[in-house]
Symmetry: C2
Subunit: 231 residues, 2 copies
């Protein structure tokens, strides 16, 4: 057996009561103090359990108003955003990558404005193809702000992909991510070895270190890719 102890047991019991409709959606549940008395523990322990459930979107809490079972469960799903190499290795496949192009260029206006840079600023433009078991897995198109690279690019890009080198070298404090779908352009189709127009899963990330933009990267995954999580 491994019955949860402590705050996890309380979280489980609260979930059970919600599931069995002892506490219906929208209903007010007892105060932390009352629950602590019922479960014979400190209020902080109940607080920990209810706080986690509120974070997960199961409960809605407001001071003075008390705690309610969420009516519209805006469930929160937590996604892991792994480094590509580890993602491939985690599937039991062999990882490799190939740098297709590395240039200095003035980015499109949309890129510059997304990064909050003046139009006309020069960025590094890198395009990389990542492989799983020697099969194309991911096409990466990256714009990189040279100002955040104290020593320029690493000399040896054989060992480590740009992304991995970046996260070791330039810690970022803030970023945003979006997911969408797009039809493969002729170029992308050729790189990923799929039919032109195939539906690709697209991840776009922008990252910042404080006020300074670091990079904007677009990842195009071949057909069959799935991002998966639990709620």
């Amino acid at each position: 057996m491994s019955a949860p102890q402590g705050w996890e047991a309380i979280r489980a019991e609260v979930l059970r009561r919600i599931d069995s409709r002892v506490w219906a959606p929208g209903a007010l549940i007892p105060t932390e103090e009352d629950l602590a008395a019922e479960f014979g523990c400190a209020r902080a322990t109940v607080n920990r359990a209810l706080r986690e459930l509120a974070l997960a979107g199961v409960l809605e809490r407001r001071r003075k108003a008390g705690t309610r079972v969420a009516t519209h469960p805006v469930r929160k799903a937590t996604l892991d955003i792994p480094v590509t190499r580890l993602e491939v290795v985690g599937r039991g496949q062999v990882y490799s990558f190939r740098l297709l192009a590395q240039t200095k260029a003035v980015p499109p206006l949309a890129v510059a404005s997304r990064l909050g840079l003046a139009p006309g600023a020069t960025l590094l433009h890198l395009r990389t193809l990542h492989f799983a078991d020697a099969k194309p897995f991911l096409y990466e198109d990256r714009w990189l702000n040279p100002a955040v690279l104290p020593e320029g690019l690493p000399p040896d890009l054989a060992e480590m992909s740009i992304n991995e080198w970046l996260v070791k070298t330039v810690a970022y404090t803030y970023g945003d991510i979006s997911f969408s779908a797009a039809n493969a352009s002729p170029d992308e189709a050729a790189y990923l070895d799929v039919a032109p127009g195939a539906a690709l899963f697209i991840t776009e990330r922008t990252t910042w270190a404080g006020e300074a933009p670091i990079t904007l990267v677009r990842l195009a995954y071949g057909p069959g890719y799935r991002l998966h999580t639990q709620v």
Copy 2:
């Protein structure tokens, strides 16, 4: 000003030290006890801050081994999974939907097995088209376990979509979600008013109440849809 106080201030300071490379990736940081002494607070307060950062993937903690700055920041992104109606309304558009079909049917084997049901079990099959400002927004294909519906389907489906009625009626305790991309089938293209083969953003959810499967639903979003979050 609104300088953070308490554990949030500690979290901010730790992030600052990581960002400024006072604590490099992979480095061991002081123990909770030491930090509590430095910041002049209780160890529990430091623990709260470091726990949040570990949850976010910024730190890696192990008993006895101490706390390290994550080398491969498997950053965690938190996504909100809203009810479709609220998603549309949240964009400032008018929401409506149309139930295209409602039948009892034996689902494909893949569906039955994903739900852990015996092959041959009969499920409800619902197909719904959701609109934003009278434009097709989302095509929904849902299999529903009738065993979890104590009173059958609601008589009036004009007010509330199936999904919204479900979450009010059958609280679920567990689910999983996956995101992918797919080319629009001829049917989907017709419903969503896009070209056949257009890249659609696909969300698939399976939900459970305890041991009982509730529903498996596939949502196909038209081109232009983006799921967005911050890290």
